[in-house]
Amino acid sequence: MKVVESGYKLDLHIHSVYSKGKDGDKVNFNTLANIGILVGKLNEQGVQLCAITDHDVFNYDMYAELKKYEQKNDSSIIKVFPGVEFSVEFQGDEGSSVVHVIAIFNDCSEEQCQKISGALLNEKGNIAYDRCMAFSEEKFLAILRQINLDTILIAHQKNSLTSKQERKSDANTVGESRFHEFIYTDYFEAYEFKNKKNEVFNKNYLTKTGMAESVRFITGSDCHDWRVYPKEIQEDTTEFIYTYIKCLPSFRGLVMAITDYRRIKTVNSFFNPSAIYLPYIQFAINGVETNIPLSRGLNVIIGDNSIGKSLLLHKLTGYSKKQSKQIKQSLVTSYDRYLRNNGVAIQTSLTENQILGFDMQGEVREKFEESKIKSDEFLRKFYPDPINPEPYRQIVQRELNKIFGYLEEKFALDEIEKSMGAFQIVDLDGFLAESLTFVGQPSRNNKTAQGLGEISSSVRTIIESVKTIEGNQWIEEFDVKTLQEVETVLEELAKKYDGKKSVVDGENAKISAFQSVMNDFKQRYSSNVSDSQKRVSSYNEEIERTIARVVELTLRRRKNLRPIIELEKKDIGIQTNRVFEYEFNSRLCVLTVDNEYIKSLFERVFKKGTNISHIDMTMEQLAESLLRFDGSPTEALQRLKEDIKELLDDDFKEKYTITQCGMDKTQELSAGFNARIYFDLLSYESDHYGIYLIDQPEDNISQKSIKEYLLNRFKVMGEKRQVIIVTHNPQFIVNLDVDNVIYIGKTNAGMVVQSGALEYTDTEYNVLDIISTHIDGGLDTLKRRWKRYEKNNRI
């Protein structure tokens, strides 16, 4: 067995008759001859890892007898460890205190195990107590040194840590100060409790004191009568709860499990049995077929740069990123060439349905870039529907149209005013010849016609919108009738303005005809009259033209009212979809429209230091004020409209953000935080059971963040689905406590693949050695875990 496949049910605290010295008749039944009763009970309970741990005594025969049932077809027992329950007198805060400590020894050497019992006895063959029915701490450590086996120490802590009452033999009887010393020096690998109720109290205490990662609890039956196992004795009413640990069933595995709180549970939920998973990767090197076993949980691929780790992920996913155009054909070709050149054939390929997601190197960061935030397959489903910007934009546009319309007319009138010209007052006293004066040249009213046409056209647009609403499947029948009434009113309105327009059009047609006739008549008249008649006519026409111009200008100025912008403040809501602790927001870039917003639009298109208000500007001043504008003043207004349209296009664009619940939704999270969200969501994801593959999740994330949250996210992910990670970061391997490590390397003989759980070791390699050799910083990280194995030396 190379990979961690399951959690194992554990009981390292069972007494035999050899505890008689302390327990008296309570253990009378637990003889070598009755060990079958214990095995039967252990089978009934499905206990897989166990140890007989007698008080200050080790009986090798009893250990060896139970060990015979290891991995037998009809036995649940997979591993039996040698162990002793020591009574150790520690110097506490206020005097000495005896604590019961279970020591579990490495079973690597039968010869060494046989010597355990001897180490506990003095020259006279009695238990080598140097205190009253107990060992001093020094003596205890000396015995462990003498036994000279790697050791796991588990201290009694039967009462919960929140309990105000102390219980004899518990670790915390040494007083708070010494107890904390035990914790902070990792004196004990774990603390043992039994009562199911205490699990919650202990967890609460650890969370409150911030020691959740420093203190590990396991349970032990402390059974003194095998007939009533897992009860301690017949009268025991405690509700016992078993501990499960996730590891390879070996002493190294036990060490790895018991030194990581995440590998210890009271339910066997380390892996999701219903999740889709790949049991192994099938491949061949130089024609030799082999399989790399995979764990149902976390699998990491390590190895030197450019050795083919990323390639392996791409190959496993059938080059899926090529379909989405995220990798080029040239990369696929070079990968295939690399495999051919190295004599490697990867035969396993996952189907689309088997994959929850595959994130290439750097892809997580890219997911949160503006253009991709909504398009990502995984994130897309979390966002609420987009907000329709049109109703808000129209409000703003309406106000802007008032301003643009005013300026357009103002500039036109300014031009008329500038070009009104001059005439000379002449003396017509001597020119009383009869003459015709062509006065009151009528002009076509095209502007009115255009305005009336726009009204009826706009009303018809509204009618079509109303009809669309009527066709909506969700609208109630009553409201359809209301809308039909509105439609009728609007139809009438449109017809009214159609009528008005046709009157104006008719007048314009008449004016055109009249102008044509008049022009013709004038031409004929001027060629048939005297010069003096012409002069009189011409002067009178000039006077008439002047009057007409002044009247037109005055009237149009009077009608071109300075617009009053009174835009009631409208907040544009943010649509939010809460997903766990995050809020997926659908919003527009602009969040409020009001007078200030309108004002800001002009400020944004004008040069800094423009003091004159846009409403008071002349065409020339506008041209001068516009940013990056070097056109003629007559083009300035059009440019202003275009610039503001661009701003509106940007401001009313849909925007998607993710915020943390409780924080200001208008604030956006940093890129680093985005990655955190992504991994959070992936870890929460439970609708899809596919495999998740990722190439170097550590990219763009600080070591601190990896430690503080990312590892936990992956840990949770690993309990729900199979995860395959390519990484160079030791934290992802050792601190994440992965279930399987796959090393890809190259020797003179060609490609090498080695794999197994962290604790895996065989005659050829040892996974921890591989990590320390091939991962930068791996050794430092591992040293912190290795000290567990070296406890015998350390003490």
């Binding site: 005013e417 500038k418 009104m420 010209g421 001059a422 005439f423 000379q424 007052i425 002449v426 003396d427 006077i543 002047t546 009057i547 111009r549 002044v550 009247v551 200008l553 005055t554 009237l555 100025r557 009077r558």
Partner: protein, 99 residues
């Protein structure tokens, strides 16, 4: 509000004064009427044109009389038409309201 415009002759120009302030003038060497200036003087910025009274301070001056007559004609005609438009507009609004 009644506006009183006084017409005076100075050395080289004919001047129209309103509240003793020169609002419009015509040089006597060319008798050119600058229409923009005329508009600015009497009708711009919603100046009240409903009751403009022009006084000729030099009725004996022949050319001055022609200048005065021309400007008075322009002011009267413009004011009348503006008033007519104003009345027309009022009527249209009333008709719309009745409709």
């Amino acid at each position: 509000m009644k506006r009183i415009i006084e017409f005076k002759i100075s050395d080289d120009k004919y001047v129209f004064l309103e509240n003793q302030k020169n609002v419009f003038e015509i040089r006597n060497d060319d008798l050119q009427v600058d229409v923009k200036k005329f508009y600015n003087a009497f009708f711009e910025n919603n100046l009240d044109y409903s009751d403009i009274e022009l006084h000729n301070s030099n009725p004996g001056d022949k050319i001055g009389g022609r200048v005065f007559g021309c400007i008075k004609q322009l002011i009267d005609e413009v004011s009348t038409r503006l008033m007519e438009d104003f009345q027309d507009q009022k009527c249209e609004d009333t008709v719309e309201t009745i409709k």
